[in-house]
Amino acid sequence: MFFTYLRRELRRRMRQAIFIALGLAVGIGLVITVTAASSGVKKAQGTVLQNLYGVGTSATVTKSPTAGSFTRPGRNFNLKPGATVKINQLTATGSLGSLDDSAVTTIAKLNGVAATAGAVTANNVNTTFKIPNFNSGGSGGAPPGGGSGGGGGGSFSGPGSFSAGNQVTVNGVDLSSGGQPLGPLSNGTLTSGRTLKASDASSDLAVVDSSYAKSANLKVGSDVTIAGQKFPVVGVVKDSSGTDIYIPLARAQALANMKGKVNTIYVAATSAANIAAVQKEIRAAVPGSTVTTSADLASQVTGSLSSASSLASNLGKWLAIAVLIAAFLLASLLTMAAVSRRVREFGTLKALGWRSRRIIGQVMGESVAIGILGGIAGVALGFAGAAIISGVAPALTAAVGPTTGSATPGGARSFSGGAPPGGGSGGFAPPGGGGFARTAGNATHSVAVHLTASVTVTAVVLAVVLALAGGLIAGSFGGWRAARLRPAAALSRVE
C-alpha cells in the first residue's frame, strides 16, 4: 500500500514533482559540475606545479638579490664606433641572489629533509649589435629604430644595427646524488638520447627541452653554444618547466661566474606533513633565505588557470550552494503546500486509525522519491556539465615566477650594456625602443594545460546524500505539518 499510494500520489502531482525534482537536479548538477571543475583545476594546478617544481621537490630555497650583487662574467668589449659586437654569455638569473654551496649541505642535515640539490638558473644571451659612429661634442641623438639614447657630450651618427639574437634558459643540474636529480629535470620525460648522470658532472654535455629542440632544430648529437662553448646534446626531454637547456651544475657555475655558489636549492622533505617545519628550520639555518613550498607557489600562479581556480572555488561554489539552498527551500515549501492541500485526506486516514508516524512516513517517502529522482537527474546533469566543461574549456595557461618562487615574477628586465665610448653615460636600446624581452632572466614561466573536469565517486556520493537530504528536509517539514493535524480539525477543514 505504501508504494502504491506513493506512486499514485506522485503521478497525481506529476508536474509539481517534476518541478521539485528539477530544482534539486539543477542544484545537485551544479554541485557536481563545480566539484568536477574544481578538481580539474586542482589537477591542472598540480600538473603545472609539478612541471615547474619537479617530482619530489617539497620546497625551494632562494635568496633575494642584494643591491649591486648582480654580477656578469667579465667581458672586455671593444666598443669602437662602427664596431660589431657579438655577445654569447651565460648570466645567472638577475632576480635571484646567490647562495653558498655550503647551504646545500647545511639544509641536507636538517631534520625532516630527505634530499637537497643545488642549481644555477641562468640565461644564455646570444646577441650581435653594431655600434653607430660617434661624434664628440654633439648633442645626444637617437640610434636608428627610435630607441632613446642619452649622450653626455657627444652624439651618435651613422647607421647602427642590432640583432636581438636569442636568449635561452639554462639550468645547472646538481648530479652529485647520482640518481634522478631534484628540480625541473626530474619531471622531464626523455624523448630521445639519455639524461645527465653523475659521471657527466664536469663535462660539457647538455640535455635540451623538446620544444626548444624543435624551434632550434636540435637533436641528439647537435651542439648548443653556451657562453661561447659548444655543448653536445646527449638527450631531449619533454617538460614544461620553462628551462631550455640542462647542463651539469659545475659547468653552469663556471660559465656564469658562480663558482661555489648556487641560486636555487631544491629540497625534498621526508613527508608532506613535515614541509612546514622544514620551511621554518631552513629559514633559521640559512638567514635571509626565502623558502617557497608548493603551497606558496600555488598562490603565485596567475593566468587563466588562476582565474578558473578562483571562478570554481568562489563563484562556482557559492552559486551551487545558493541554488541548492533555493532548491531545498522550494522543495520544502511545495511539499508543505501539498500537505496543506491534503489536510482532509490525512484527517480521514487518522480517523481510519492511521498513526501519525505512518502518515509522516508516507509524506517523507514521497519527498525522498522526488529527491532520488532529482539526484539521478542531477548526477546526469553533473556529468553533462563536466563533459561540456572538458569539451569546450580552452587550454588554460598558468604563469608563475621562476621555479624559486621568490623572485619577482613577471616583467621584462632591461639589459644595459655599459657606457658608450666618449664618456657619455647614456644607455642604448634596441630598435623599436623596447627593452630586451627576457633578457635578464626567465622571470615568468607560462604553461598551458587542458582542463579536464572529471566527476569523482565522492561527488556522486555527495550528490546522492544531497538528494536524500533534500528529500528528507522537504519531507520532514511536510510530515511535521501533517503530524500536527488533529483529525477533527482536519476533517472540518473546508476544501
Partner: protein
Amino acid sequence: MYKLTDVRKDYQKGRGTVHALAGVDLVIEDGEWLAIQGPTGHGKTTLLQMLGGLDRPTSGSVELDGRDLASMRETAVTRVRAASIGFIFQTFNLIPTLSAQENVEVALVPLGIGPAARKARAEVALASVGLEERVRHLPSELSGGQQQRVAIARALVKEPKVLLADEPTGNLDEGTRDELLALLERLWRDLGLTLVVVTHDSTVARRAQRIGVMKKGRLSIKQDTRPAVP
C-alpha cells in the same frame, strides 16, 4: 456500549468561548441506532467526534466498553479507532488517487493485515454494498452514491462495533439517499452494529430507534420513534 458523562467542549473563538458541548450525558447501548438532529452549529458533529475519539472533551468522560477515550493516550485512541470504529462522512473523503478497492484496503492497513487478505476482504466489502463491478475504479469515475457506498465498505471492512456517520446522505439525491438508507439499515441489522447518525434529514432520522436533538450544546433524547429492532 457508550457512556458519556457531563461531556463539555469549549472552543476559543476570538475573545469569547464557544460552549460546543455544555454537559452531555448519554448512554448508547450496543446494537442501537441513534440519530442526532439539531440546528447547524449546536454541537452535533462535535458530539460525533467525541464518540469517535477524533477530539477530546474539555471535561467529562467518553467511555466505550468501559474505557475512557477522553483520558487515553493518543496512540491507544488511534488503536480503538482502527479496530472498533467506522466513519462515514458527508463528503465521502475517499483518497482520490486510489481505486475503490484500495480505498477500502486503507482501513485495514493499521490492523497489520497482509496485502492478499486485505484485497480479499475489500472485495467482499465492496460486493456487500453492490460495487463488485467497480473495484478498480477511481473515485472520480464513480457517482456520488457509489462513492458513499465505497465509504461504507471502507467503514465496515474491519468489522467495527460502532459506525459513526456524519450527514451520510447530505450530498445525495433523494433516490440515492433512500437506496443508501436501505443499505445502512440492512447492514445495521445483519452486523449488529451500534449506529450513530448525525443528520438534518428527518427521513433519515426517522429510521433510527432513538432521536437525540442537540441545541446549544445540550442533548435531549426523544424516545423510540420506531419499534425497537432486536
